[in-house]
């Protein structure tokens, strides 16, 4: 069987397929994102991709009013860190909710915006929204 590489590129390929995937260590069962090709806990290279539930709870957030150039058309926008059901942390934009209604602790789900940019890094976006 051909092994799927444990790379950032591959993580974003899965995002393009509307799947949030993490790497799981077959030796110690540690789950991790971003993908690395060695387990950060036990250094094992016996790894596999596993699909996550795509549900989480908001740990912290901000509303960005001064963005970098490429995000100017969508500002102001909210960005937060969620704790996924599997315990992993992920940072992303929060859409579909007014900034003033966002609170630490709210439940969010991971959704996908599969529009593909035409230049490097050609990664689609995931984002968070209320269920």
């Amino acid at each position: 069987m051909e092994t799927i590489p444990f790379t950032i590129e591959q993580f974003y390929k899965f995002i393009g397929e509307r799947k949030l995937m993490a790497v799981k260590c077959r030796s110690c069962a540690t789950l991790f994102v971003p993908p690395k090709n060695v387990c950060p806990r036990c250094f094992s290279t016996d790894l596999e991709w596993t699909k996550l539930e795509e549900k989480g709870r908001l740990l912290t957030y901000t509303v960005i009013h001064v963005p970098p150039k490429q995000f100017q058309s969508v500002a102001p926008y909210a960005v937060g860190i969620i704790k996924l059901e599997e315990g992993l942390h992920l940072l992303g934009m929060i859409r579909g909710v007014k900034p003033e209604e966002i609170k630490v602790g709210i439940n969010l789900i991971v959704d996908f915006d599969t529009d593909m940019p035409s230049q490097w890094p050609m990664w689609p976006h995931y984002f968070f929204r209320p269920p």
Partner: protein, 402 residues
């Protein structure tokens, strides 16, 4: 002022310093229109040489280690020999260090390695950044390069945004308030108003800070440090050679550095910078001092929340009590533990690569009684806390009056 505990003094005196600072230089910080980074660096170097007439610049300095974060600002890489040349110091070796906003704090540590290894007797360490000629959106993008590209920048994250995430988490966990954060800005602007080299030498009121426009909620314009041009340098030597160059050296007695995940989101906790805590622990142990022995500190207030977190990570108070500490006035220039007497990154300015050794410059002035209107009386032990990015690098140094 905190006094050293009796008994500690013996241990301190018996302990040989790592290196001694025999001179230091700082350019004027601000919008240096028409000046190139290398020209600003040369200005800092000139001051360091003028301050130390016993030192022969052409003979005594054996190497330069310079912190510089971004090629993008001036479209210029290969910083080491470039700034060395403009400072008139060819042909000695020049090494450029990049550790984001901790570049020159780390350059100082590398200077300590260079001297302690026995390879060099006298080295210059420093830092430089030229930023103000670029549009704010460009600066925002270039600074964001110190965060993780695929999982932070790609999601629209900015540097104020990362520290805003820390602020929101701190407010939620400990009840820290926007007003407490604003108090850091008011304090540091008050200090900066006394510093003729500060970028913004003017006081601000709590109302001004609170009503300034939002950059990344909950952080407002006056919660953010300044986009600044500037350079700084120190001359380091072996402690046994220090008196050859000056009667008033400052000894570096502790140095700590640690790393963390580049992505803030990867960390277990967002209310503390683990790398800063580890770096502080190492520096305190090496110096054989404790947090309560520190008389004066320059901490990395890139955003007001960062100074509050720094108090906690350095052990100046317990976790969650940083907001209360600044509100009480403990860290003002008249307080028990003055922090950022220079005005900090907030008011003196934050030319990112120059900041680490600029912090050491202020401690050097304070411990040699050259800080003029902002002189703190009888300070013996100083500390600098320099953070790269959202805390993936931290360097802490401890200093003793020579």
């Amino acid at each position: 002022m905190y006094n050293l505990l009796s008994g500690k003094e013996d241990a301190l005196l018996a302990r040989k310093p790592l290196v001694s600072i025999v001179s230091a230089g700082l350019s004027k910080f601000g919008k240096r229109k028409g000046m190139y980074g290398r020209e600003i660096f040369a200005e800092a170097v000139r001051e360091a040489f003028e301050r130390c007439p016993n030192l022969n610049p052409k003979q005594d300095i054996e190497a330069l280690i310079v912190g510089h974060m971004g090629e993008s600002f001036e479209h210029q890489g290969h910083t080491g020999p470039t700034v060395l040349d403009w400072a008139g110091m060819l042909p000695i070796p020049a090494i450029r260090i990049e550790s984001a906003c901790a570049s020159s704090g780390v350059a100082l540590r590398c200077g300590i390695f260079a001297v302690l290894s026995g390879m060099h007797d006298v080295v210059m360490v420093g830092g430089v950044e030229k930023m103000t000629h670029r549009a704010t959106s460009d600066v925002t993008e270039f600074l964001a390069m110190a965060s993780d590209f695929p999982f932070e920048q790609w999601q629209g994250m900015t540097f104020p945004g990362l520290y805003a995430l820390i602020a929101t988490a701190h407010m939620h966990r400990y009840g820290t308030t926007e007003e407490q954060m604003a108090t850091v800005a008011v304090k540091n602007h008050r200090h900066g108003a006394l510093n003729p080299k500060a970028h913004m030498q003017k006081e601000v009121t709590l109302e001004q800070v609170m009503s300034s426009r939002v950059i990344a909620w909950p952080l407002k314009l006056f919660d953010c440090s300044l986009i600044t041009d500037g350079a700084s340098c120190l001359i380091l030597t072996k402690p046994e050679l220090a008196r050859k160059f000056t009667d008033a050296p400052v000894h570096v007695i502790g140095s700590g550095q640690a790393s963390d995940a580049i992505g803030l989101y990867e960390r277990e906790e967002f209310t503390t910078l683990k790398a800063a805590k580890l770096a502080a622990r190492e520096a305190y142990r090496m110096a054989k001092v404790e947090s309560r022995d520190v008389d004066i500190a320059e901490v990395h207030d890139c955003f007001t929340i960062a100074e509050i977190v720094a108090y906690e990570d350095l052990g100046f108070c317990k976790p969650g009590e940083g907001g209360g500490l600044v509100k009480k006035g403990t860290t003002t220039i008249e307080g028990e533990l003055p922090v950022n007497t220079s005005g900090g990154l907030k008011s003196k300015g934050h030319p990112v690569g120059a900041t680490g050794t600029a912090q050491a410059y202020e401690i050097y002035l304070q411990l040699t009684e050259q800080a003029e209107r902002r002189q703190v009386k009888d300070a013996e032990i100083g500390l600098t806390h320099n953070v790269g990015g959202s805390g993936a690098t931290a360097a802490v140094h401890i200093y003793r009056r020579g």
